[in-house]
């Protein structure tokens, strides 16, 4: 069976720390703001940022909702303590319920979950504004490729240090960065409703699907080649369906080009010119 090529995680960590240090320097802002879910992705992002710019420049928010598990908040607190981060807890339960009621979205758990994810984004960008800080993203390559995220919710951030890192490698990164074991060991979850897990919703776990995605997305292998190389056809079909179905999330919006100077089409410009 084809495998996901390994990566030197020590070097990866050093490189990503340098990335976060440079993005903060180039932006001219004062620090990072990160939402700690109690999961491994946000723990790794936070650990990298703390190592890159110092824990005093990284503020953390725990944002429990009406359906969040109590372990999530406990794990977020464990992560904040492990990396010396100041953690504020903002309970989004009441505002989410109120907005869901107003919009009539309470009965639909996907709508309610998306609303929860987007309110977390609102809280992070709001708290980041007065610092002023960049919002530190926590999305990884596997979930981006599969589209397993909420557009303008958890996918929204100023920078995404893990956006090109396979989830399989994030577990390894977590180990070298010293993320507490219970956070690494637990099943990945968006924590939007009770009992939700990534694997339960996707139908496969990340160590299983990452090699399929790698050999398709980077290796250029098609469906039949993947199946012939030993991947279960049902896994391949399911992974590639998500890869195609949710691709619109890779570029969250499309601008209608009606001039010869369309932004990001005819004029691609550096994000941080001299001010």
């Amino acid at each position: 069976m084809l495998e996901l090529p390994p990566v030197n995680v020590q070097l990866l960590a050093r490189a990503l720390e340098a990335f976060l240090a440079e993005e903060l320097r180039a932006s001219g802002l004062a620090g990072y703001f990160v939402g700690l879910s109690g999961g491994v992705d946000s723990a790794v992002s936070a650990a990298l940022a703390a190592a890159a710019v110092g824990p005093e420049k990284v503020r953390a928010l725990a944002l429990p909702g009406p359906a969040s598990s109590p372990e999530s908040l406990r794990d977020a607190q464990t992560v904040a303590k492990a990396f010396g981060l100041e953690l504020d807890v903002v309970d989004l339960g009441r505002p989410t319920e109120a907005l869901a009621e107003t919009l009539g979205a309470r009965a639909d758990r996907v709508r309610f979950g998306n609303m929860m994810a987007r309110l977390r984004m609102v809280a992070l960008f709001d708290r980041a504004r007065p610092v002023p800080a960049l919002v530190l993203g926590t999305s990884n390559k596997s979930e981006i490729l599969l589209g397993y995220s909420t557009l303008f919710g958890d996918a929204a951030a100023s920078v995404q240090p893990l956006g090109d890192v396979w989830k399989t490698h994030i577990f390894a990164l977590a180990q070298v960065l010293g993320v507490p074991d219970p956070v690494v060991a637990k099943s990945p979850t968006a924590d939007l409703w009770p009992g939700q897990t990534d694997a339960g919703e996707l139908g496969f776990d990340y160590p299983t699907v990452d090699p399929v995605l790698y050999w398709h997305h980077e290796g250029g292998m098609g469906r039949d080649e993947l199946a012939a190389s030993g991947f279960p056809p049902a896994l391949v079909d399911s992974a590639l369906a998500a890869y195609r179905r949710n691709r619109f999330k890779w570029r969250p919006t499309v601008v209608a080009r009606v001039s010869a100077s369309c932004i990001n089409v005819d004029r691609i410009l550096p994000r941080n010119p001299e001010r």
């Binding site: 390994p6 030197n8 490189a15 340098a18 990335f19 440079e22 550096p270 941080n272 010119p273 001299e274």
Partner: protein, 287 residues
């Protein structure tokens, strides 16, 4: 550092591996001047900077804002500094009749001594240089009081014909300046550094000419650059470096001209190069 003590007539080259920022030209210029000052303290005769060192690499359409003419006042501090040591910098060069070149500019004695315009503009994968730059029209050495140098910009060196052709031009050395991005794999350094090591080693050995390589490091627009600046002699032995991948560094490399000349006498490979075979293949293909 070289393995033997510096001799009279040696060339001391400083390879300034810096992390530039696209569009932050004043900051980049300050980094140049800091590195030149350090290089002078180390006795350097020539200081080489990476590709597009003045502007940053991933400018994209930002070249329209940041391309420079050779008489741009921004370059004045570098020209002043070049009275103390020759300086090779990379910048987007605004051409008099339109178009922008990805250029390497050799400064010495307060003047521009020569310009190499990048010949091969990669436009594949993550690269889009053909969209923003025009290709250089010719390949010829750059000269200053220190000697004759085959200056290549990044992708130029991936076409081995560039070094084969220049090797017939009585060079003192190649200077390859690069903005080489890199991915990570299981290696202890970014993968790009290994590729450069193979390419530059092959250039040095097959042309029997020393190679000085300066690459940028750091991040631009979410893209990692691989560093690993290096100096290698005409037999493939390391003179200095490789520099660490992720950190700004200044390598000081001593080149023995006498040793380089001896190597070319003992191993006269470039003098046997039959460049007409290349054109013969091209003519047959086009016939």
């Amino acid at each position: 550092m070289g393995k033997s003590a510096p001799q009279q007539g040696d060339l001391v080259v400083a390879l300034a591996q810096i992390a530039t920022c696209p569009g932050q030209l004043q900051r980049n210029l300050d980094r140049h001047l800091e590195m030149v000052a350090k290089a002078l303290e180390a006795g350097a005769h020539l200081v080489a900077f990476p590709e597009l060192s003045v502007s940053g690499y991933l400018l994209a359409h930002g070249v329209l804002e940041h391309a420079l003419r050779l008489d741009d006042p921004l370059l004045s501090p570098l020209l002043d500094a070049s009275r103390h040591a020759a300086i090779l910098v990379g910048l987007p060069l605004r051409e008099p009749h339109g178009g922008i070149s990805n250029a390497a500019v050799l400064l010495e004695g307060g003047e521009v001594r020569g310009v190499h315009r990048k010949l091969y503009l990669p436009t594949y994968g993550m690269f889009d240089e053909g969209r923003y730059f025009i290709p250089g029209p010719r390949l010829e050495p750059l000269t200053c009081s220190l000697g004759r140098f085959g200056v290549l910009i990044c992708e130029d060196a991936w076409h081995l014909s560039s070094s084969a052709i220049l090797s017939r031009a009585d060079l003192d050395a190649f200077i390859v300046i690069s903005g080489g991005p890199s991915e990570l794999d299981l290696g202890g350094e970014p993968a790009g550094g290994r590729r450069w090591h193979w390419i530059l080693g092959a250039v040095a050995i097959t042309t029997v000419t020393p190679v000085f390589f300066t690459n940028r490091c750091g991040w631009e627009e979410g893209v990692l650059f691989g560093g690993a600046s290096w100096a290698v002699d005409s037999r493939g032995a390391t003179i200095a470096g490789p520099a660490p991948a992720l950190e700004e560094s200044l390598l000081i490399a001593h080149l023995s001209r006498a040793a380089a000349a001896r190597a070319r006498t003992l191993t006269p490979i470039p003098y046997a190069e039959r460049l007409e075979l290349w054109s013969a293949v091209t003519e047959r293909r086009d016939a």
